[in-house]
Symmetry: C2
Subunit: 436 residues, 2 copies
């Protein structure tokens, strides 16, 4: 088998055989497939795509490139959740303890933020002492004991994805649906879950700017999950404006805690209930949506969800005092209130622009491994549809230096658009994909 | 400037700026552009193409990657000729002395064969002692003295093309028109000519299987040549069946010599007169086609063309005795007469299949640098349109071993197709591209 022939076949629009896909993935791992041939194949895949069988095989080959976590010692259906990434997306921080509080075991591996989107693991670092890297046995033991653990992905999980992602990143081939889908699903499958709820973001602040691509990705993700024997539901949700009011790390955690206390912003609450409902259904904790939703509401109003969150922080060695006293969270040296020069209705609040502004403030990282400022971020007082008068504070910016504040203002100013009439209401939940 | 952005721009169908193209070519040369990014860009170019300005800039950047030959000491218009490669294409062997004999200086650098197509330099090796690598000063001196020199391309000419071609070869991106055109033209321009006649092959035995692609390539080649200030004519010619009767090395040289003696096969003669006419017109040796053709016919019938060929062989240190006595050419140990099992008219003689059969016999090389057998090859007795009776000898195969003979028979058998009625006559000269 020759890589040149495999590249040529894909270039001409052919479907690669399982053997060809494995030859490529294994060759990349053992160094027999040179980077330049892998790069040419990735670009050919970018243009020609992959069919369902090819994408499934690619996922499976990547999955088998490394270790998998064995969660079979845990009782109950292990349900995982994944978001394709957005701005202000603190959903996991709410959803994990919320679902765990209803009795569905949560053994979750999360990632760090990159570019204008944040990551759960970065956010959890606001708790002093919290361990985010647990040995597998300890990870499983914790879920057995308290029903929840959220940790960072281990390095040995899906090494082929790390290699491929690094190559896609420098060859402008990140945005290919089969490549995105196999990357996401190989990592989910390797982390040992039995069922998966996917939050596929669509819109300005996501990696799928248009709805059609997001539904397409959702479809492919569900096909892979079900093809690999996991019940899978993908919920396509809007990411045109940030989720909730807080964008950053400490301020997002504070908003997640408020949500667990029953005081969350409407969009975040709606999303958590929707994704939580799907998780409870897949986890056999509820038989229908209304029942699931009521279990979730109960967990919030009884204080069980918040208690589960604190229990997890403490069990992982973290100091949870800030959960009850948010003033203990790190605060930024400089803040700035951005006031409106316009009046009318906020017709659009561009999530990408807000994310880029937050990155400029120090809340995000442009390249892997660069440090982030946990205290930096943006609090949005006005959201799409809100009435705005001249002089109203639109947002507060938090950063460690005046330079970052001015850079942030420059970026953030582009995020707001106004209209004389209120904009048509926007849907948050755009649709669901599942195999009945 | 970042390669990732350049790749992305081309991936999205944008036109690269001169700076971006130079950044790519220079980066590849100085090692700053990694092979994997170059490979991804090549594949994006394969899918998206390049406009006229981009192709011109790429050619120019490649040209400037190495040395150029300065032919300004030579008087007269230096006209070069290039063929995109075919089977049985011994045109340069005839055309170079033929045109030189009319007084147009021929300072020609040629290549070796690869795959199913042959190369002039390999064929010239049949003359014992002949030097094919001359220092530039000696190359120019020879043209000054006798009006002709045919040598191998020096290594220092267009190093960026060598790098790019090697990468295209292993990434399935050879067949892209802007990449093919810039590769051809950068080498032609570096070899110092002032005007260029291109023989762009179309059909089964060429790299452009369909006529439309060949005309497209011809157009791009002419645009580059004229854009670089060289008068350029591209003649699109059929390469569905081999040119002439001989396919190999020694037997092709023998056929070229016959042609210089006025006893050549009709198609080869027609092609040489057509290309020669264009060369004489560009070389200001004739003002119109009829005049050019008559000068060329004279050079053959007077024996001047043949004498010029012998003069060149001798001047380059070769033994030209075989020109008068073809029995001195190397002969193969094994020969086989392939007889027809069919009867009727030969409706098609697939050049690609003949080329592959000749390669199996040892006459060609599959990979660069591998040795070839000068005596191996195929002599075709029947060509398209000929009447064939059962038992007629279709071709004679020549090789060094019985294994190669059987392998050659297997391949060659696929080349012939028969019909009850004579096939419609096929055109050899399909069209011309030039800027008036």
């Amino acid at each position: 088998m020759k890589m040149t022939q495999i590249i040529q076949k894909k270039r001409e629009g052919g479907a690669l055989s399982p053997e060809e896909i494995r030859f490529f993935v294994e060759g990349l791992q053992n160094g027999e497939t040179p980077d330049y041939q892998a790069a040419a194949l990735l670009m050919a895949i970018y243009f020609r795509g992959m069919n369902q069988a090819e994408t499934l095989e690619l996922t499976s080959a990547m999955l088998q490139s490394g270790d998998s976590i064995d969660l079979s010692d845990l009782s109950g259906v292990k349900v995982d959740k994944h978001s394709t990434g957005g701005v202000g997306d603190k959903t996991t921080l709410v959803l994990a303890p919320l679902v765990a509080a209803t009795g569905v075991p949560i053994a979750k591996m999360s990632g760090r933020g990159l570019g204008h989107t944040g990551g759960t693991i970065d956010k959890l670092e606001v708790f002093p002492g919290l361990t985010l890297e647990l040995p597998t046995s300890q990870f499983i033991q914790q879920v057995q004991d308290i029903g929840i653990a959220v940790v960072a992905q281990t390095q040995s999980l899906v090494p082929a994805d790390k290699q491929l992602y690094a190559l896609r990143d420098v060859t402008a081939t990140v945005g290919s649906i089969p490549l995105i889908a196999s990357s996401i699903m190989s990592k989910k499958l390797a982390s040992g879950c039995e069922a998966i709820v996917l939050d596929v973001k669509a819109g300005k602040g996501s990696f799928m700017p248009d709805e059609a691509s997001a539904f397409n990705l959702a479809n492919v993700l569900v096909e892979i999950g079900e093809g690999m024997g996991r019940r899978t539901v993908a919920v396509v949700t809007a990411m045109d404006e940030p989720l909730g009011h807080a964008v950053g790390n400490a301020i997002e955690v504070a908003e997640a805690i408020k949500t667990l206390k029953g005081e969350g912003p409407a969009d975040l609450v709606e999303l958590c209930l929707e994704l939580g409902t799907q998780m409870l259904l897949l986890g056999n904790r509820a038989n229908e949506e209304a029942e699931a939703k009521s279990l979730l509401m109960d967990a919030i109003h009884s204080g069980k969800a918040l208690a589960k969150f604190k229990e997890m922080i403490t069990r992982q060695g973290g100091d949870a005092s800030s959960v009850d006293d948010p003033s203990l969270f790190p605060t930024a040296k400089y803040t700035h209130h951005l006031k409106s020069h316009d009046e009318g209705y906020l017709s659009s609040l561009n999530a990408k622009a807000v994310g880029v502004a937050a990155m400029a403030l120090g809340a995000g990282r442009e390249t892997k491994g660069s440090p982030i400022d946990l205290a930096a971020g943006i609090y949005l007082y006005k959201k799409r549809g809100d009435k705005v008068a001249k002089g109203d504070v639109l947002a507060t910016l938090h950063a460690a230096s005046p330079q970052q504040i001015s850079e942030g203002i420059l970026q953030l100013a582009e995020a707001f658009a106004f209209s004389a009439q209120p904009p048509a209401p926007a849907k948050l939940i755009l649709g669901k994909k599942m195999i009945k």
